[in-house]
């Protein structure tokens, strides 16, 4: 199990920058998630860690030793691909044993390890099957067993759950987390699914356009996003972002003036407020419901007001309001997040409420 560091790593594809000067470090045994949209450079980062791509600039260190020039096969990295990448001509057992072929492990010992790891990922009854005879979830477990059997320094998971159905995804999230804790292997999960990242990882590294937007605990990213991108990417339904102007009197959004606390230098801002923090409790800004979506446990409303279109959640399974109904919306200053509209970064020490 290794301590992993990336120091000012850049990866260029011709003139395009896939990864742009990123630095991060992972402690031994840590579980980190690299979260970002398609094309943000997260998989490229993962492949650089695996030794499949070479960084254009910067260094990758395992336990303090530079591994830039170390080939993939010599890095002792286990990797689980989105497509699982199982060898179709081999049985499950042969797939799991494959990495040990190159480590010159005696046959009996290798088979014992394979059976142990199969037990751990609960596929002991499938060892004689071919990958095409397995379900997605079973293939995913085989891929995990193959990645873990060589006791890797680092386990890399490239969108491992995205091909699974919702129920299976839920159980596999817990399974992977359990196995990772049991083995204590340093793990990086690459995903575009914020729920996956937030539920599985100790730390989230949010990436956008080849750069790290923010890193921190799932809770920190959700409650104190540093950038507009981090705020909008994390959270479902997404955060309300209302453009306005900070003035000496308060925050002006359209014709409405909201009270502010803290520093009030005039500038363009975006007010971020999560849907669950907007309440329709009879006072505040008048608004008209334009849609109501029953999500099962709660209802998501969109209301049109002087602030613009605002989403809010109510914890009722049946919609309380209908489209066209008038409500009043308010929110608490503690839950408001103000961003500098020019730099797209959070403003410290200032909040607004309605």
């Amino acid at each position: 199990m290794a301590r992993v560091e990336l120091q000012n790593v850049t990866k260029d594809w011709g003139t395009a920058k896939a990864v742009d000067d990123i630095s991060l470090s992972l402690e031994q045994g840590e579980f980190a998630a690299v979260l970002g949209p398609s094309g943000c450079g997260k998989s490229t980062t993962l492949f650089m860690l695996a030794g499949i791509y070479m960084p254009t600039r910067g260094d990758i260190l395992f336990d303090g030793a530079r591994v830039n020039d170390v080939e993939a096969r010599d890095r002792n990295v286990g990797i689980v691909f989105q497509s699982y990448a199982l060898y179709p001509n081999m049985t499950v057992l042969q797939n799991i044993l494959f990495p040990l072929r190159f480590k010159k492990v005696p046959k009996a010992e290798a088979e014992k390890s394979a059976r142990e790891i199969a037990e751990l990922v609960e596929i002991s009854s499938l060892l004689d099957r071919k990958p095409s005879q397995l379900s997605g979830g079973q293939q995913q477990r085989v891929a995990l067993a193959r990645a873990l059997i060589k006791k890797p320094n680092l386990l890399l998971l490239d969108e491992p759950l995205s091909n699974l159905d919702a129920t299976l995804r839920l159980s596999m999230r817990m399974e992977i987390r359990r196995i990772q804790r049991e083995l204590g292997v340093t793990t990086i999960l690459v995903t575009h699914d914020q729920i996956e990242a937030m539920t599985m990882a100790d730390r989230i590294i949010c990436m956008n356009a080849g750069r790290i937007e923010q890193e921190g605990t799932p809770e920190a990213l959700y409650t104190r996003p540093e950038t507009v991108f981090a705020a909008s990417f994390i959270g479902s339904p997404p955060i309300n972002l209302l453009p306005g102007e900070l003035t000496a009197d308060g925050l002006r959004i359209g014709e409405t003036l909201l009270a502010t606390r803290g520093e009030t230098n005039a500038r363009s801002v975006k007010l971020g407020i999560r849907p669950e923090h907007v309440v329709a409790n009879g006072h505040g800004i008048p608004a008209e419901i334009i849609s109501a979506e029953a999500l099962g446990r709660e209802t998501l409303y969109t209301a049109r007001s002087a602030l613009g279109d605002t989403r809010f959640l109510e914890a009722t399974s049946a919609p309380k309001y209908k489209a066209g109904e008038q409500v009043r919306l308010s929110f608490d200053a503690a839950h408001s997040i103000l961003f500098d509209a020019e730099r797209d970064r959070r403003l410290e020490g200032v909040s607004a409420h309605a």
Binding site: A50, R73, A85, P99, K103, S135
Partner: protein, 315 residues
């Protein structure tokens, strides 16, 4: 089913499959039937049939009580059969499959443009008219010191000049046919290698596999079906191939394969041509050999599984 829809089915069948059926009947079935009939006649230069007879087969085999089959092969026929077997086996294994595979592996390992360039070079013989290609080979293996091969041997290695056509005729026809034949295998195998998901290569690398292990455990298993196809297809093509043999060696006895024998006895200008019934008998045997080989290879390479249904992975 209504009358109009069954009428439409019938017309659709005629419109879509009709031309192919006519083509098959006219160019495949009819010649085989004609060949079958002519083989049992005495047709010669006058292209007339005076009698129906099995005497053409008597030129190839003769009755023998010693043989458990009840007949023995005559010298010419035995020789033609052996030469055909050696020619097909060597060209197929050395060039069409092995060399085609090596070309596909090496050109896909190169950067894209360089790989495409080398593949194009290997395709050039196939694009060139066969006479030009044969002329080039005649110059390469010219027995005097003018020949390219001998220039290399004499000036490059200080060896004595060789006469390939005289001393190594089989090597010459295998190599010259093989250099053309390898490009087909190269093309099919290249596209098959390209269709292997990149993740499998990445996974194998991360699992610790080197280049040779990647070829053995990832590439070769994925090439099983195209290799089977190439083997069956090229075996049949080589069995009836005579063009380059004739252009390079003429009617030489040393390279008189079955296809060459049939050609020489019927259409080749000069020696012994015009024996149409005899040629038809040889061709008939060649057709039977082709069918038996195709069926055997079909079984051996498990082509049924390849042709039966699309091999789509179901999750």
């Amino acid at each position: 089913m209504s009358a109009s829809s069954s009428y439409r089915q019938a017309t659709n069948f005629a419109v879509f499959l009709g031309p192919a059926l006519v083509f098959l009947l006219a160019l495949l079935v009819a010649p085989i039937i004609v060949d079958l009939v002519v083989a049992f006649t005495d047709m010669a230069q006058t292209v007339t049939i005076n009698e129906f007879t099995t005497k053409q087969f008597g030129k190839l085999v003769h009755a023998s009580d010693d043989s458990w089959l009840g007949f023995e092969l005559r010298g010419t026929f035995y020789r033609a059969l052996s030469l055909t077997a050696v020619f097909v086996f060597l060209t197929l294994t050395i060039f069409n499959v092995t060399f085609g595979l090596i070309l596909a592996l090496t050109t896909t390992a190169l950067p894209d443009r360089l790989g495409a360039f080398f593949r194009a070079v290997w395709l050039l013989p196939r694009m060139a008219p066969s006479v030009v290609y044969a002329l080039l080979w005649i110059w390469v293996v010219d027995p005097t010191e003018r020949g390219l091969l001998n220039q290399l041997l004499v000036h490059g290695f200080g060896m004595a000049p060789v006469n390939m056509a005289l001393n190594h005729p089989m090597a010459l026809i295998v190599i010259s046919n093989g250099f053309i034949g390898a490009s087909m295998g190269m093309l099919i195998l290249t596209s098959s290698i390209r269709s292997i998901p990149q993740h499998l290569f990445h996974a194998a690398r991360a699992d610790g596999a080197g280049s040779l292990s990647v070829i053995r455990h990832v590439v070769l298993p994925a090439l099983r079906w195209p290799l089977s196809y190439i083997t069956v297809f090229q075996t049949l093509a080589l069995l009836v191939s005579f063009e380059y043999i004739f252009l390079l060696m003429g009617s030489s006895r040393s390279t008189m394969t079955m296809a060459m024998l049939a050609y020489t006895k019927t259409l080749a200008p000069g020696i012994g041509s015009g024996q149409y019934a005899y040629g038809a008998a040889i061709t008939l045997i060649l057709i039977v050999i082709g069918m038996v080989s195709a069926l055997l290879l079909y079984r051996l390479t498990n082509m049924k599984a390849l042709l039966a249904k699309p091999r789509i992975e179901v999750h």
